[in-house]
Symmetry: D2
Subunit: 321 residues, 4 copies
C-alpha cells in the first residue's frame, strides 16, 4: 500500500483527494495536515464523509511518507517546501501554480499524462496542471503536436463556482451567482502561461495569440470550453490527429455525440468533439474542474509514478443529474 | 410628492425599496443614508440601476423628510432612533424586528395591512412584519379571527437565500447552497413571537403550539409555506372565512389553482390555497420575501399612511421565469 | 388609449407582452387570440397574473385594432397574415423571424430602435429582432456605423432556457439543464443573417466572417455575449464611437463597471462594456432575452410608432436576485 | 461473478444501476433489455458512460441470469412477470411499487435492509422500497420498533426533479422548476401505504395518522425529510433507541452535525439527526433518491441475497458540490 499525506486539507481539491484516496485500493491516507485544526474530524469539514471515516486532521507531518500532495494556495507550495523537508523517497504532487512553469531550476514535471506519460512515470515531483489549462490544452495540443497550429486560437470557457475556491467572496454569494453569468480576466487569465508553454514544447516557434475569455457559470462543478482556429485540412484529417494523440489516453476520449457538461461531472474524463465550419476547426472540451482539472489528475499522476494501474481509484460513478 | 429617506442603503431590502421608490409615481427619494460610502453612486451597489439613476449615497440626513425607512440590522433601529431625531411630521417605517412586539412603551403599529389597515392609516410609526411572519400569518390568522383555532398548527416553510442577507456566510456560498436543502432553527425561529402576538390579538386566550420548521432553499427569492391544523368545519366554510377576511385586501388572494412559488416572485402578492384532508385544513401560502415580506409591504404601509392608492408603485411585473 | 391585440397567447413572449401591456399607462388589451383555448382565463396559463386580471383568451379577432402583436412560431406569421386581414390603420409588430430579412417585397421595418428610430416612427409594420441578434448587434454595429470593421468578429453568447420556448424537449428538462452547459448550432445560428444584414447596411461591402458560438446556460432568462475583433484605434476612440452611437438610446448604456447578467434581468436594458487587449477590442453585452430581446423591444417599437414616450410601460423593476 | 440483467434500461433508476454495476467488483452485466432500441449503445442514452463501455441495449433476455432488476413503470412489473419466466435460480429485484404491499399471494420481501436484513438474505424476490418511503421509514421506524409511537406524525419532505422520472412534463421544464418550489399530493402520496405497512409490522395496532406533505424542489437529486411526533422520553433515550436500531446498518448513521442534503448526494447513505423541542421529537433524514432511494438500495439488497459484502460496489464518492 502507498502511504499518502495531504498538506492543506480544508479546500475543495483536498476534499476531493481525500474522497478518492479513502476508496483507492492501493493507498492509505497517513495524515491530512492542518495547522489550524489538528484533532478535528475530517468529516466535520468534508461532511459527505460523515459515518464513513474516523480520520482526523493532524498537526504532525510524517516525513517518510511515500507521496505527499500539496493542496495549498498559489505561492504557498514554494514556501512550504522551503520550510519542510521530506525523505529522499517521498514523491511530491503539487496542485498549486508554483512549479508549473519550467525555470531551469526546479525539477517538477508538468503532469499532463496525455503528453508527458513517460516523464511522469520517472518523475519524483509533479506540478499538477490548472483546470482551465487542462481543458484547453487537451483541446488544442494535438494540432501543435502535428505542427499544424498556424493562426490565432479563439477560446471561450466557463467554470463552476468551485473554481473560485472555498473562500467567501461577492461573486460566490449564492444570490449573486444564482442564474447569473459573467466574463472575467478576459485575455489575461494566468493559465495562458501554462498552455503557451505546452504549445511551444510541441510546436517550437509558435508565437501567435491564444485569445481566451473565461466565464463564471452558475453551476458548481465543471469546465466547458470551445476552441477554434483556422485549419486547412479536412475534418477527417483532424480527427485522425486527435485519435492518434489520445490512443493511449486513459480518460480522454474523442466522441461524435453532442457534448454537454454533465457527461463528465464527477468523473476524471475529458470528452472532446471536433467539428469543421468553413476554414475553422472547432473543438469542444469538457472536464470536471475538481477531478481531471485537479485532484483526479493528481491521483492519475500518482498512479503513473508508482507504476500501478493508471485508472486505479478513478473509476468514479458519474453524478450526471 | 412624498419625500422619502432611506437609512442603511446597501442591503437587499434597501435595494428593493430604492427600485420601487424610483418608479413610484408619488415619491421622490430625498436621500439614501450611508455612513460607510457617502458620495458613491447607488448604482455601483445596486447594479441593476446602472444607466437609470444618478442617485448617490448620502452622509447627511434631512430631518424634515416626509417618511423615513429604516433598513438596519435587527437591534440597530432602536439605537439609531435614540441617536437621531426627525421632525414631528416625519413618518417612520422600520423594517427590523425592533418594534414588532408591543411592549406598552413604543407606539409602532404592526404593519400587516390585511388585519390592521385602519390602524396603519392613522399611524405615524410602523413596524414592518418579518417575511416568514407575513407568509404564515396570512395563512393562519383568518381562522383565529373567527376564533376557530382549536389545536396545534404544523407549519413548514422554505425561504430563498436573500432571506439570509447580503453578508457572506458558509450557508450562502454558492457551492454549498446550489442544489442543496436544509432545515434550521426548527421550533425556535424568532418570527414565532410575531405570529403568536397576532394570533392572540385576534383570538385571545389561544395558547396552543405553533410548530414551525423553517428551511433554506436553493433559490434566491420567495417563501413557500404550508400550514395545517385540525378544523371541524367543511372546506367551503373555511374558504368563506378566508374570502371574508381578504375581501378588501389589495394583494392577498385565495385561488383554486395549484400554487408554486414563482407565481409571486417579484410581486407584492400573497397567494393562498385551501384544502381539506380528513380532519385537517391545509393552507399553502406564497410570497416574495423581499417584497410582500419586506420592502413591498413597507411601501404598501407608506401608501396607506399617506392616504394614497394602496397599490401605488407596487403593480410590479412578475419575473415568473 | 391604444387598443392592442395579441395573436398566439400561450408562449413566453406573449406572456411578457401581456404582463407589460396590462401595466402600460396608454394601452388596453383588446384581445389575446387563441384558437386552442378560447374562454380560458389568461391567468390560468400565465399564473403570476392570478388575482390581477379577469382577461380571457379570445377565439375572435377585432380587425379594427390599433396594434397587433404576432407571437407565433417562426414561419407562422406569414401564414397568419395571408389568412387574416386587419384594417388599414392597424399597425403590426411581428416577433417571429418571418419578416426580418428585407426581400424587396414586404414592407416591414427591422425594429432595432438604436439604429432605426426614425424609420420605426414612420413604420406600420415592424419585424422585431431576434434575441441573440439584438445582444450582438448592439455590441458590434457602432463599429460598422463608423466603417471600422476590418476583420473577423469572434462572438460567444449564452442564453437562458426561455430562449428555447415553452415546448418540452430533452434539453429543457430540468434534470438535464440543471448545473449543465452546452454549445449548439456553432457557426450556423439563424440569427447570423439578421446581424449580417444590419452590418452591411451600415458598412456596405463588409464581407468578413462573424464567428458565433451560441450556448445553452442553466438559467432561465438573459443573454450574455462577448464579441471581439481587431481594432487599431485606442480604447478611448472606441468608447467615443459607442457613446455617440447610443447617445439617444433609451435603454442601451455604455458602462465602466464589470458586467454580470443579472444587472439587466427583468429590464428592457442593454448594458455594454468595452475593453482593449493588444490589438483586440472586446465588447461585453447583456440583455434580458424576453424583454430587450423580444417583448420589451416590441413595446418599445410600439411606443415609437404611436409617438408616445419611448420608455412608457417599460420602467420595469429589475429582479436582480 | 454474478450475472445480472436489467429490464427497462432508459430511465433514471436503470441508469444508476448500470453505472453501479459496471464498477461492481462481483457483477457482470449480461444484458440491458430494451424493446424500443435494441442494438443502440447504452452510452448513447446514459451519456456519462461515453468512452467507458461498449455495452448495447439488447432485445433478448437471458432467462438463466443470476439476478434481474426490473426498472419498469409502476404497474408494469406485474405485467412483465406474467409474460416472462426466469429460471428457478434467478433472483428478482423489482424497483416499482407493484410488490411492495404484502397481499398474502406474492412472495416478495420488502427490501429495507435496516429492518429486514435476515429476510432479505434468504429472499429470492425483493420489492425495493420507494424513495420517500425509505427516507421517512428510516426516520420513524425505530420509535415503532420500540412500540413508542403514540401520536400523529408530521412529515414534510422535498424531492429533486429526478423523482419525477425522465418523461417531459410541465413541472419538469427547466423554466418552471428553476428557482421554484411547490407542494403536491399533500396527505395523499402513494408511499404512505408502504410506510404504514412497515409501522404496523413493528408496532401492531398503530392506527394514528401520518400527515405527509411532499414537495418539489429545484434540485436534481436527493430527499430531505423532517418528521416529528410527541415523545415523552428524553433526547438521550431517543438517541439510544436509534443507535440500537442502526448499530448494524451499513449505510444509515445517526449524526450530531447539522444536516444538509448534499452530505449524501451521490452516496447510498442515510444520515439522521435527532432533536427534542418541548414534547416533540424531531428527526431529520436525508438520502439520495436515486441511490438509497432506488438503485443503490437495490444493489445493497442484491449483495445481501448473494451473501457478499453488503457495501460491495456502493462505496461511492460523493459529489458534494
Amino acid at each position: 500500500m502507498i502511504s499518502a499525506g495531504i498538506i492543506g486539507g480544508a479546500g475543495y481539491t483536498a476534499g476531493e483527494l481525500i474522497r478518492i484516496l479513502l476508496r483507492h485500493p492501493e493507498v492509505n491516507i497517513n495524515f491530512v495536515y492542518s495547522t489550524s485544526q489538528p484533532g478535528k474530524p475530517v468529516a466535520a469539514v468534508h461532511q459527505d464523509l460523515l459515518g464513513e471515516t474516523d480520520l482526523q486532521f493532524s498537526g504532525e507531518i510524517d516525513k517518510d511518507i511515500d507521496v505527499v500532495f500539496l493542496c495549498l494556495g498559489h505561492g504557498n507550495s514554494v514556501k512550504f517546501l522551503s520550510e519542510h523537508q521530506f525523505s529522499e523517497e517521498t514523491k511530491i504532487v503539487d496542485l498549486s501554480t508554483d512549479y508549473r512553469m519550467a525555470d531551469g531550476k526546479h525539477s517538477f514535471v508538468y503532469g499532463l499524462p496525455e503528453f508527458k506519460k513517460e516523464e511522469i512515470k520517472k518523475a519524483d515531483f509533479i506540478a499538477n496542471p490548472g483546470c482551465f489549462a487542462t481543458a484547453i490544452s487537451l483541446a488544442i495540443l494535438p494540432l501543435a503536436k502535428a505542427k499544424l497550429t498556424k493562426d490565432e486560437w479563439h477560446v471561450n470557457a466557463v467554470t463552476g463556482a468551485t473554481g473560485a475556491g472555498t473562500s467567501l467572496s461577492p461573486t460566490t454569494h449564492f444570490t449573486w451567482r444564482d442564474n447569473n453569468f459573467s466574463a472575467y480576466k478576459a485575455f489575461e487569465h494566468q493559465h495562458l502561461n501554462e498552455i503557451g508553454q505546452s504549445l511551444n514544447l510541441l510546436q517550437p516557434g509558435f508565437s501567435t495569440q491564444i485569445n481566451f475569455i473565461p466565464n463564471r457559470g452558475n453551476f458548481s462543478r465543471g469546465i466547458h470550453a470551445t476552441a477554434y482556429t483556422k485549419f486547412s485540412g479536412s475534418l477527417e484529417e483532424a480527427k485522425d490527429l486527435y485519435m492518434e494523440a489520445y490512443k493511449d489516453a486513459a480518460f480522454t476520449f474523442l466522441v461524435e455525440e453532442e457534448l454537454h457538461l454533465k457527461q463528465v461531472v464527477n468523473t476524471n474524463k475529458c470528452l472532446l468533439k471536433l467539428q469543421k465550419f468553413g476554414d475553422k476547426l472547432l473543438i469542444t472540451s469538457i472536464i470536471d474542474n475538481l477531478l481531471k482539472g485537479a485532484s483526479g489528475q493528481a491521483v492519475q499522476n500518482m498512479n503513473l509514478m508508482f507504476g500501478i494501474e493508471e485508472t486505479a481509484g478513478l473509476k468514479l460513478k458519474a453524478n450526471y443529474f
